[in-house]
């Protein structure tokens, strides 16, 4: 609890900005959903042939998981992509159903005789709608808006996956860091927000249905409250105009690198907007194509195979060159590498390495007939995984390697259940658990050198940007990266201060 409050206290500006983004996202999407669903509901209420297919369609939309929806929208021009716009589209789609349904239900539940009276008084269809039907259906419609808004507060946390900001940023950051405090830092305000929205709209609904003389006053008060909140958040959430947008993928190392990149650019006096924690390689890649983000850190091997769909290559320089050319063809520039290679690392206990003088994987091959190995599921299957490794280095384990969860395998090695594992070369646990990486002298593993990818256009527009980023080139060693991952994952230190401390040292 005190850690949580401490986290908020040190992140108060960021917290306020995320809350503001969250509220704005929900308010805007709910408002637009109203603007679509209420007229549609009015139109459909009198046309049963239309009402049920519409409701079914809206129902189907509702059942699509929101992450899948972001996935569908990713390649759609104008609506999709990365950032608040795509998030807005998804939230609007989710808001349509409850509002549509309650609008239709509200209009249909009006007593026949009252509608007949309106006609008999000589009301035109428009007057009947405005003076009789809408006022009578309003409490029902507001109930739908309330559901849409509350669901929206929840769904909006997922918007962080595509860089739309909001409180989901903490939740995702916490999940990737396995840090409950950070998860709660986002989840608790989101829950409070949902309760507040629910309460406020419930008051509005009650105020409207109670038909008292003070009803306009009540409704006006609730409306004023909503308007005030909106105005306040609109001010706070305004993004930096013309800022350089820095992205990152959604795991600890990427968050640190994104922060490092952002702070390096800020040090050069350029404005930065952070859109960290994006949901994966392909999202980041597309975002640099569309201009939703201007720069992020990619790994050469990943770019080669996952982005450009080319075969595996073991030569670091060749891969870098190939990827640089591919990026150049698509309007992006690959800047010189940061200096570390996040590849598979064959790991042993430091004590064993010292005792037996182990330095390379060849050394380990000698010991392999007496050893047990443990590997992650993925490593057992990948083309650049275990089978090739065993052949290249002539590994002869007496038993087939144990297959286990990647994170667990570090602990299994440290506690002596296995003697050799394949981990990530930059994992903080290597330092934390006193493990040693054996050198891949035969260059079996493809290179995953970290390097900044930036939009060529942005580099052109901000001449100071290139030198600002190149401050990092060749300055982040594998040990540095391990230490920073360790600080974040094991010591639960704040990512911003980890990055700031590193930059202060590299000056």
């Amino acid at each position: 609890m005190s850690r949580l409050i401490g986290f908020w206290a040190t992140h108060i500006d960021e917290l306020m900005r995320l809350i503001a983004q969250h509220v704005l996202l929900v308010a805007a999407s709910t408002a637009i959903a109203c603007a679509i669903a209420i007229p549609l509901g009015i139109f459909a209420a009198r046309r049963p042939a239309l009402a049920s297919p519409l409701t079914v369609a809206a129902n189907i939309v509702q059942t699509i998981p929101s992450l899948a929806m972001f996935g569908f929208l990713l390649p759609v021009p104008l609506l999709g992509g990365v950032g608040p716009r795509a998030a807005l589209v998804v939230l609007i789609l989710y808001g349509l159903l409850p509002i549509l349904r309650t609008t239709i239900a509200g209009l249909r539940s009006i007593d026949r005789s009252i509608v007949e009276a309106a006609d008999a008084m000589g009301m035109t269809a428009g007057e009947r709608l405005r003076l009789v039907e809408l006022p009578l259906a309003l409490p029902s419609i507001i109930a739908g808006v309330r559901v849409a808004a509350v669901v929206g507060v929840g769904s909006a946390t997922i918007a962080a996956a595509i860089g739309a900001g909001g409180l989901g940023e903490y939740i995702y950051r916490g999940l990737s860091m396995v840090d409950t405090t950070v998860i709660l830092a986002g989840a608790v305000p989101a829950a409070i927000l949902a309760l507040m929205v629910d309460g406020l709209l419930l008051a509005l609904e009650r105020g409207l249905s109670r038909r008292r003389r003070d009803r306009p006053v009540l409704a006006a008060a609730a409306t004023l409250m909503l308007a005030l909140i909106l105005a306040a958040t609109a001010r706070a959430a305004r993004p930096g105009e013309g800022a350089i947008v820095v992205g990152s993928k959604n795991f600890t190392e990427q968050l640190i690198l994104g922060e490092l990149l952002a702070q390096a650019i800020e040090r050069a006096g350029l404005p930065v907007e952070r859109r960290l924690n994006l949901g994966g390689t392909l999202i980041c890649d597309r975002a640099t194509l569309t201009g939703d983000i201007d720069a992020y850190v990619e790994y050469t091997g990943t770019a080669l195979t996952a982005v450009f769909h080319r075969g595996v290559d073991n030569d670091s320089a060749r891969v870098f060159d190939a990827v640089r050319q591919e990026y150049a063809r698509t309007g992006r520039t690959l800047l010189p590498g940061l200096g570390f290679n996040n590849t598979f690392a064959i790991l042993v206990r430091a004590a064993d390495a010292r005792a037996r003088g182990l330095r390379t994987i060849d050394d380990a091959a000698r010991e392999s007939p007496r050893w047990r190995a443990g590997f992650g599921y993925e490593f057992m299957e990948r083309p650049d995984g275990y089978p090739g490794l065993a052949k290249t280095y002539d590994l002869r384990f007496p038993q087939t390697p144990r297959v286990m969860d990647l994170t667990l395998s570090y602990r299994a090695l440290a506690s002596g259940q296995v003697d050799l594992i394949a981990g990530d070369s930059t994992a903080g646990l290597i330092k934390g658990l006193d493990l040693v990486q054996l050198e891949d002298t035969r260059h079996y593993f493809p290179p995953y050198d970290a390097a900044v990818v930036a939009r060529a256009e942005t580099l052109h527009r901000y001449p100071a940007l290139r030198s600002a980023v190149e401050v990092l080139s060749g300055r982040v060693s594998t040990d540095d990266m391990r230490a920073m991952n360790y600080a974040a994952d094991v010591e639960h230190r704040d990512i911003r201060s980890i990055a700031a401390a590193f930059l202060a040292r590299t000056r």
């Binding site: 007949e116 009276a117 008999a120 008084m121 000589g122 009301m123 007057e127 003076l131 006022p135």
Partner: protein, 250 residues
């Protein structure tokens, strides 16, 4: 009737294959109160809806002020025609005063004029404006609601007033009281009034002429005194029901 305020000419109307009106003809003079009596389902409400063009006849014509309803702008026609609905149909989200002032509001009267008119009408129907103007419909008794319904129908002083079982759902005491009220109001405002009811007693109490509807046709239409002497079986049946209730002293 050469200058009838309202005239049905050979009107037929059927719904879902069932004939409700069959070559129905009737002329109503200006300022006349006419009551049409028939059993439930005899097409009485349909008759009224034909007058303000909520329905149009399938054959024959309906004339309001010598003009075919098909030639009227339906909105104009309805605003010139006061309508007291069977179940009153007050707007539950509007106060009594707002309900009464609804047609003036549609006619874009200034607010203060509409409000003065509402107060005037509430007085006319015997509801004190200071006590009732700001009440909600669900705070009223059945009789009070009926009075508001009448006040609403009279709001822009329409020449024609249609009343669909206006006092049907009330207890006998309230009903008698409202009958007296109606006669008092009518003597003050002099409208052409068409009342449909299943109750011959009510028809006798309110109308200048009473018509009897049977099987979609007008069997007879005459002043109450003449009607009372009718020997037609269909008329007698309706009359006998009233006479037995009153102990035979009509």
């Amino acid at each position: 009737m050469p200058d009838a305020a309202l005239e049905f000419r050979d009107v037929s109307f059927s719904r879902r294959g069932v004939r409700i009106l069959d070559r129905f003809s009737l002329a109503v003079g200006a300022g006349e109160v006419i009551a049409l009596v028939g059993r439930s389902g005899a097409g009485k409400s349909t008759l009224l809806k034909l007058v303000n063009r909520l329905l149009v006849p399938q054959s024959g014509t309906v004339h309001v002020e010598q003009r075919d309803t098909r030639d009227w702008d339906p909105i104009r026609l309805r605003r010139r025609t006061g309508y007291v609905l069977q179940d009153v149909g007050l707007f539950p989200h509007m106060t009594v005063a707002a309900n009464v002032a609804i047609v003036p509001r549609l006619e874009k009267w200034p607010d203060d004029r509409a409000h003065r008119r509402a107060v005037e009408l509430l007085d006319l129907v015997g509801l004190r404006a200071d006590a009732f103007a700001d009440r909600w419909p669900d705070e009223l008794s059945g009789g009070q609601r009926q009075r508001v319904g009448v006040a609403r129908a009279l709001a822009i002083d329409p020449p024609l007033l249609l009343m669909d079982e206006p006092f049907g759902a009330l207890d006998p005491m309230t009903r008698a009281e409202l009958h007296a009220e109606f006669r008092r109001i009518q003597s003050a405002v002099r409208k052409t009034v068409v009342i449909v009811t299943h109750d011959m007693g009510e028809a006798f109490a309110l109308a200048d002429r009473v018509g009897v509807l049977d099987d979609g046709r007008l069997v007879v239409c005459d002043v109450p005194a003449a009607l009372a002497k009718s020997t037609d079986g269909r008329v007698r049946r309706l009359l006998d029901a009233v006479l037995s209730l009153r102990g035979g002293d009509a």
